[in-house]
């Protein structure tokens, strides 16, 4: 086997493994959808699975793991920080659910 052929056969195994993991995790989300649990539990379980899926895709399919550590940290910290700051409004959605009025401005 030539070097090129060795390289060719070597890379596919990892990609296939990640692909099968992603398929299994996607299937798990569909299983969770049919579990007899309340919506908030279902939401948190599905979101956890989606985060793992996204992590696998970013690290191995998008090869972020193979980039310089500085770049990995740049992407991770910047993205996670902004995603977290987007979460500040959830409490207000519960206010909507119970029909509570807006706070008065004086």
């Amino acid at each position: 086997m030539t070097t090129a052929e060795e390289h060719k056969s070597g890379g596919i195994g990892k990609y296939l493994a990640v692909y099968l993991c992603l398929l299994a995790l996607a299937g798990l989300q569909f299983v969770i959808a049919y579990q007899n649990i309340d919506a908030s539990q279902m939401f948190s379980r599905m979101l956890a699975v989606a985060v793992v899926e996204a992590g696998l895709a970013v690290m191995f399919f998008m090869h972020l793991w193979a980039e310089k550590r500085g770049f990995l940290l740049f992407v991770a910290i910047f993205t996670i920080f902004i995603l977290l700051t987007l979460q500040y409004g959830w409490t207000d959605s519960f206010r909507m659910l119970v029909g509570a009025p807006f706070a008065k401005a004086y």
Binding site: A4, H7, K8, G11, I12, Y15, L16, Y19, L22, L23, A26, Q29, F30, I32, A33, Y34, A39, M42, F43, M46, L47, V49, A50, E53, A54, A57, V58, F61, M62, E67, K68, G70, F71, F74, V75, F78, T79, I82, L83, L86, Q87, G89, W90, D92, S93, F94, R95, M96, L97
Partner: protein, 206 residues
């Protein structure tokens, strides 16, 4: 300053040396676009979650998971074919790289067709941007906005796959261009991993 310190057009050498993170400029630009686009989708999904959480009569119109499961399978598989295309491109096998890139584009077209079929089914049942027969009218606008934004990305990706594939085969683009396009395609796949549970699976009619 000596002449050795000057590069083209008189810029000091320090200003022209390398790119951030030692990454090709085009690739860095794609990563920055992906980070920005992540924020766009995240904002849309958080807004959707906010509305869904705060609205008691949120519709649950989906009776079957067959279509969305098939769409998910196709998109995930297209990520694998994209990787195979990139692998062949890095190996210098232009014909194989072109073939895998076109297979990826075909998967994208199939995904888009299934998506449109689903939209038409919902429209037939009476769903529009502002009203639907099941509950709050907000659902239609939220659903069409998020899935429409994703479908736009898939469509743009398919066009880019064809253009880059053809130009790579013709020798105008190289393997790095295929890799950069691959980043975009995997990102489109990644977004779908969040759209499916939030927009479809949490709204199944049990």
């Amino acid at each position: 300053m000596s002449e050795a310190d000057l590069t083209m057009e008189g810029h000091p050498a320090g200003l022209m040396a390398g790119t951030p993170f030692s990454m090709p400029t085009k690739k860095l630009a794609m990563w920055l676009f992906i980070i920005a686009d992540t924020m766009t989708f995240a904002a849309c999904l958080v807004a959707y979650g906010f509305l869904r959480n705060g609205t008691p009569d949120w519709p649950r119109p989906f009776h079957s998971i067959t279509n969305v499961a098939l769409m998910t399978f196709i998109l995930l598989t297209s990520s694998l074919t994209m990787l195979l295309g990139l692998r062949e491109a890095k190996m210098g096998d232009k014909a194989a790289a072109f073939r895998w890139t076109m297979i990826t584009a075909a998967a994208g077209i199939l995904f888009a067709l299934l998506h449109v079929r689903e939209w038409l089914g919902l429209i037939d049942e009476g769903m529009t941007l502002f009203k639907n027969p099941w509950g709050t009218g907000l659902f239609g606008s939220a659903f069409f906005s998020i899935t429409g934004l994703h479908l736009t990305h898939v469509t743009a990706g398919v066009i880019a796959l064809v253009v880059v594939g053809v130009r790579y085969k013709g020798g105008r683009y190289n393997a790095d261009d295929v890799e950069i396009l691959g980043l975009y395609w995997h990102f489109v796949d990644l977004v779908w991993m969040f759209v499916v549970p939030l927009v479809y699976l949490l709204n199944l009619a049990h």
